[in-house]
């Protein structure tokens, strides 16, 4: 897989290593970059289904879907990170994550991604703190994982989802 130039961050600042004990991550493709979500956050991966768009919500909220009788919101990570929109392909999937932001642990959200690749075990020594320069997704990055031939951007999905929590969904709060 290709590593991207800007996020590989050659001039890494003296790495302030966050507490990271290693763990398993689900890697997925978004535009040309490869991201990872902690596997414990991921509830399931479903194929693309028809999404009912939700009026008066920020533009990255694609809408809601019916997940076996439960209605959950779906966000588009491409739009969230200001990437150019992509056609839905056979590989496009929705990663359903459980967001545990303490007070409301059952907040379940689907994330549309280009494709999922594999589950990777990341060791603590491969972890790097996030680079100081970052694109729109910068705020949501936990850190980087150095793999043999590429770099995985580890997302803090809780932070991403915090953004679509109540207040931002009020009318007019759209980006």
């Amino acid at each position: 897989m290709n590593t991207t130039t800007d996020n590989a961050a050659t001039d890494n600042a003296p790495a302030v290593k966050a507490a990271f004990d290693g763990g398993k991550f689900l890697s997925f493709q978004l535009s040309r970059e490869e991201y990872g979500i902690a596997i414990l956050k991921v509830r399931e991966i479903i194929g693309m289904v028809e999404i009912t768009s939700l009026p008066r919500t920020p533009d990255f909220v694609r809408g809601v879907i019916n997940l076996r009788g439960r209605i959950i919101p779906v966000i588009d990570l491409r739009r969230k990170f200001d990437m150019e929109p992509a056609e839905t392909t056979a590989e496009t999937v929705i990663v359903v994550v459980d967001c545990g932001n303490g007070c409301d642990s059952s907040f379940r959200v689907g994330c549309v991604v280009d494709s999922v690749s594999e589950v990777l075990a990341i060791r603590a020594e491969d972890f790097e703190a996030p680079p100081r320069c970052a694109n729109a997704s910068g705020d949501y990055i936990d850190g980087l994982a150095k793999l043999k031939d590429r770099v995985l951007i580890l997302l803090d999905i809780d932070k991403v989802i915090d953004d679509i929590d109540p207040s931002s969904l009020a009318p007019g709060a759209a980006q």
Binding site: T52, P55, R56, V64, N66, R68, G69, I71, D104, F107
Partner: protein, 836 residues
């Protein structure tokens, strides 16, 4: 004799006084001191006192620079003193008791100047005292939120009170000083014993002092007034503190230690069900009880008594395990009272039943307190315990009862109609003769149950719903449809049937009977009838009718209002009833039944009924109707509906039961919140019937599915009035106010869903779509949609957006094809557009 010498020296000094000024005064004081000392040595108390007074007078005069002006008077006074001492010393020298010698009165210099000075002092005091009092108030108000700083705050309060006390002491105001002293003592006691701080009492104390200080500001000679009761209260509090008993207004303390917190929910649940059983039993018992005792021939009474006893006993046991002492104590005295009746020491009279019911209520409140609500106050708690103890301690009164019991009839009877379910028949029977068979049903009606959390239940219901959708998708799949195998077709049919049964069973899990609610009403009828001095027989039917749990919970309040109204306003007093040829006892019936997909709860009384003309006149006089409305133009139904208007009340007098004119308004709102309707039938002089028409469940609504572009929305059918394709000539544009359409004489604003929801596609030409007239809160508006797809019952689901809702949407519904359609909340939708 040295005192005599001293006096001689003194009189020499006095001679020099008028010319001498301050220096002489100082000498005088010194000499006085010497004489005082000598007098004390020889224990001449009178003399000591006299000298002290004289010294004080001189010092005061010196301090106030009045010495010169009053020099002559002082001289006079001192000469008197000298003469007195000389005479006195003479007596002593002779060995006599100086009885006939009168000491001169202390010199009182009370001229205008002095008073002004006093007023000034008081004025200064008033200023500082008012400051201190406002500090005190602030401190008192912070007590409740002080938390860990409580000790600090209390010390602050004590300090303030102490300062006040000292200042009152300086001004010689004994009343307020004593009061402050008592308050201080009380605070000490409370701090020492950690009793709850009586904020309200102290605030009252502060107010009292403040009133006095303020009156001082206008008149320095104001009287303090009567502080007896406050003094007594403070004294009482101070004495109580050691016993851990707080102020009467403080809530009862209920705390569960960490180890037992886990078993608390279970206890709460069980206690509630025990109390409910006990209440039913007690109310039943009371139907056999007159004011003196209960009818022994009734076979049900022992069983009911035992049941109630067991309920209290169990609660007591578990509460003791959890260390809920206040609860244990209350349950114990209630149990003692019941035990007295059980062991036939005395008979249970109506007032005993009232007390036991009150005890049950208080335990319920305490349990509510465990769940975070305000527990009952200590005062009430103690009061109830005392009353229970008094009743329980009375000696046998069995002998007196017999005669009276025979003649009296119960105030309230519960009469089951013949078509009622057997269990409701258990609530029956006048005192005698007894139909024995009816009572025994009670024991058999216990149903085996398990407790399941509602989230698990909802999950099951969700999954079953999904199964139904998946099943119908499979069924409609073209590949399946063109299959020819008969077995497969039959099996698929079988799966379909099982799925539907399963869905029904799952939905029924959420359903509960209205029995518990109706039982509560039986209790209410008893209480209200007793209070209003009327005789009412309640009959209950259809109590096994099932409703969604949420509906049952929310229908209880409206029922309470309506039953109170029925008894208080509807049913006439016994004498009036006899006068118009009705039975003395009013009939009230409460029934529930299914009708056309909804549940109807009916409340019928045979009271005076609604007076159409009176209602109309009242509405006009209250300004609830326009002047141009004529009574003839309105149907009975419309007139009766006026009683639901806010501010309407026909009762001549307002009682504590009803009549404030808010009741029926609240009833209607509650019922409408449940998506229900309320109907009234009434015949003047014959009675009134209220019908509450309720949906089976809150989770399902009737919806009109509409399409806007690619999207589907669900509009609740309840809010839809009509729909039509508009004529272009009826549509008007109002500058800055959007579009309007003429509908049968009314001009209604048009809201285009496409624009409100930013839909990319959809009709823009009004004549190609449909306008739906929706009515919410009496306001009518038009929604413009592309087309109406159809009507369907949908299950309301949350949109999963955690706490907040999206304005204009009340949720989502899963359609038969598995996709999600959004359910409109017409009220907030319109509001949001208007306010935008």
């Amino acid at each position: 004799m040295s005192i005599v010498t001293g006096i001689q020296t003194l009189s020499q000094i006095v001679d020099r006084l008028p010319a001498g000024g301050y220096a002489v005064a100082a000498e005088l004081v010194q000499q006085m001191g010497t004489i005082e000392g000598q007098a004390r040595e020889q224990s001449f108390e009178d003399l000591v006192q006299l000298c002290r007074e004289a010294t004080k007078t001189i010092q005061t005069l010196v301090g106030n620079e009045q010495l010169i002006e009053n020099a002559e008077r002082i001289e006079q006074h001192l000469r008197e003193v000298c003469t007195f001492v000389a005479q006195w010393a003479e007596c002593i020298a002779r060995g006599d008791q100086p009885v006939d010698v009168r000491a001169p009165k202390p010199l009182a210099i009370a001229d205008a100047n002095d008073e002004a000075l006093y007023a000034e002092t008081v004025g200064m005091f008033v200023g500082s005292a008012l400051g201190a009092l406002s500090d005190l108030e602030e401190e008192l108000l912070s007590v409740e939120s002080a938390g860990e700083r409580l000790g600090e705050v209390l010390t602050g309060i004590r300090r303030t009170v102490h300062t006040l006390k000292a200042e009152f002491g300086v001004l010689n105001m004994l009343g307020p000083q004593a009061l402050c002293h008592q308050a201080e003592t009380m605070i000490d006691a409370i701090q020492e014993h950690g009793a709850p701080f009586p904020v309200d009492t102290m605030l009252a104390f502060g107010d009292m002092i403040k009133r006095f200080v303020e009156s001082l500001a206008t008149d320095v000679k104001s009287e303090f007034g009567d502080a007896e009761s406050m003094l007594a209260t403070l004294c009482h509090l101070a004495q109580q503190a050691p016993g851990q008993l707080g102020d009467d207004d403080e809530p009862v303390e209920l705390r569960v230690d960490g180890d037992y917190v886990d078993s608390l929910p279970e206890f709460i649940g069980e206690a509630r069900s025990h109390l409910a059983d006990a209440e039913v039993a007690m109310v039943e018992l009371s139907s056999h009880t007159d004011h003196d005792g209960c009818n022994d021939e009734n076979p049900g009474s022992d069983e009911n008594l035992n049941l109630t006893f067991r309920a209290f006993h169990t609660i007591k046991g578990v509460a003791a395990f959890l260390n809920l002492n206040a609860l244990v104590e209350l349950a114990h005295v209630a149990e003692t009272l019941l035990d007295g009746a059980r062991s036939a020491r005395f008979r249970l009279a109506a007032q005993d039943i009232d007390l036991v019911l009150a005890a049950g209520d208080m335990i319920t409140k305490m349990i509510d307190g465990l769940e975070g609500q305000t527990p009952p106050s200590r005062g009430d708690w103690r009061d109830l315990i005392n009353r229970l103890q008094t009743r329980a301690a009375r000696s046998s009164d069995v002998a007196q009862v017999g005669l009276a019991a025979a003649s009296a009839e119960p105030a309230v009877q519960l009469v089951a109609p013949h078509d009622a379910t057997p269990s409701s028949a258990a609530v029956v029977t006048p005192p005698a003769p007894v139909k024995a068979g009816q009572v025994q049903v009670r024991a058999a009606r216990v149903e085996r149950t398990i407790k399941v959390s509602t989230t698990r239940l909802d999950l099951l219901v969700d999954m079953v719903g999904e199964l139904v959708i998946a099943q119908s998708m499979v069924l409609q799949d073209p590949a399946i449809q063109c299959l020819e195998g008969q077995t497969l077709a039959r099996n698929i049919g079988q799966v379909g049937k099982i799925t539907r049964d399963l869905q029904e069973a799952a939905m029924s899990l959420r359903m509960v009977t209205v029995k518990s609610t109706f039982q509560k009403m039986a209790r209410l009828v008893r209480d209200v009838a007793g209070k209003s001095g009327k005789r009412v027989a309640l009959s209950i039917a259809g109590e096994d009718t099932e409703l969604d749990r949420n509906v049952v919970e929310q229908v209880s309040d409206p029922l309470v209002h309506m039953i109170r109204n029925a008894i208080d306003h509807g049913i006439e007093a016994p004498a009036d009833r006899l006068a118009i040829g009705k039975d003395e006892e009013g009939q009230l019936s409460l029934s529930a039944y299914h009708q056309g997909g909804s549940i109807v709860i009916e409340i019928r009384d045979d009271g005076r009924g609604l007076d159409r003309d009176k209602v109309f006149a009242k509405a006009v006089s209250k300004g609830l109707l326009g002047n141009d409305v004529s009574a003839q133009a309105m149907s009975d139904f419309e007139v009766f509906n006026l009683i639901f208007l806010p501010g309407f009340s026909t009762a001549e007098t307002i009682t504590d039961l009803s009549g404030r004119g808010v009741g029926m308004d609240v009833v209607r709102r509650n019922i409408e919140a449940l998506r229900g309707k309320i109907e009234i039938d009434s015949t003047l002089g014959k009675g009134t019937t209220f019908r509450l028409r309720l949906p089976l469940t809150l989770a399902i609504i009737d919806g009109m599915i509409v399409r806007v572009g690619e999207s589907r929305y669900v509009v609740p059918t309840l809010s839809i009035e009509q729909s039509f394709r508009p004529n272009t000539k009826d549509v008007h544009h109002v500058v800055d106010r959007g579009e309007c359409v003429h509908v049968r004489g009314a001009v209604l604003p048009i809201f285009r869903l496409k624009e409100i929801f930013d839909q990319p596609s959809g009709c823009t030409d009004l004549s190609e779509g449909i306008l739906i007239v929706v009515e919410v809160d009496g306001q009518r508006n038009c929604l413009f949609v592309d087309e109406i797809i159809g009507q369907q019952q949908v299950v309301i689901k949350s949109l999963g957006m955690s706490r907040d809702r999206i304005v204009g949407l009340s949720g989502g519904a899963i359609m038969t094809d598995g996709r999600v359609a959004l359910i409109l909340d017409v009220g907030t939708l319109v509001e949001s557009v208007l306010s935008a």
